[in-house]
């Protein structure tokens, strides 16, 4: 079974430029998460989807960040414009089911460097 796929693995951009990250969750997983992991820190939740609905986006900086999950499968996280402080690893995770607490399967992440 294929795991969570993320692309690109690395991205270097100049500040004020836009950037997008893509995530393909494990087949059949209806819950999808985006986390941001700053250097030397644990991941922090940005947004959680149940199917195509964003059910928790309270930590998403909505002035510059946006996300979508069309058809409840793949998801894209976008930053526009990027700032120096956005340099981090962006992790996508997925899990199956709505009830109970489920194991989250993580992708390898996208390392973003903003110069």
């Amino acid at each position: 079974e294929a795991g969570v796929v993320q692309s690109p693995r690395y991205k270097i951009i100049e500040k004020k430029q836009p950037v997008a990250f893509w995530c393909n969750p494990i087949s059949g997983h209806n819950t999808l998460y985006w986390y941001r992991q700053n250097l030397g820190q644990g991941p922090e939740l940005l947004i959680r989807y149940e199917n195509e609905e964003a059910v928790d986006d309270s930590q998403l900086p909505k002035d510059r960040f946006s996300a979508e999950r069309l058809k409840g499968v793949d998801s894209t996280l976008k930053i526009q414009p990027a700032e120096l402080g956005d340099s981090a690893v962006y992790l996508c995770a997925s899990s199956y089911g709505l009830a109970g607490v489920l194991e989250q399967y993580f992708g390898p992440g996208t390392r973003l460097t903003v110069t």
Binding site: G42, P43, L98, G100, V101, P108, G109
Partner: protein, 116 residues
């Protein structure tokens, strides 16, 4: 606020020895879930072990076991017979909002070094 605290930035252990990583958390919920994740340099988060708060019995997975002290809000990970492949960042994480497929709250991590 729900928090997870790991007070050991780095731990070192000799190969084949036992090491314990500490974690404390804060929540007002009675029903929650606790996890230990391993993150090697490849960045892929791997679930090591999970504990449901309503279960009194400590979870075990082969060489990995937890000491769950609900009253003290403590959740430590014990790794027995440490192996070189255990070297990684270890994150304590929790779903503290009372069930459901919630996002996880992570600690800052402990860097585990295995000395041959």
């Amino acid at each position: 606020a729900q928090t997870v605290t790991q007070s050991q930035p780095e731990m070192s252990v000799q190969e084949a020895e036992t090491v314990t990583l500490s974690c404390t958390y804060d929540t007002s919920e009675s029903d929650y879930y606790l996890f230990w994740y391993k993150q090697p340099p490849s960045r892929q988060m791997i679930l090591v072990i999970r504990q449901e708060a309503y279960k009194q019995q400590n979870a075990t997975e082969n060489r990995f076991s937890v000491n769950f002290q609900k009253a003290a809000k403590s959740f430590s990970l014990k790794i027995s017979d440490s192996q070189l492949g255990d070297a990684a960042m270890y994150f304590c994480a929790a779903s503290l909002s009372g069930g459901g497929a919630d996002g996880l709250t992570f600690g800052k991590g402990t860097h585990l070094i295995i000395q041959p």
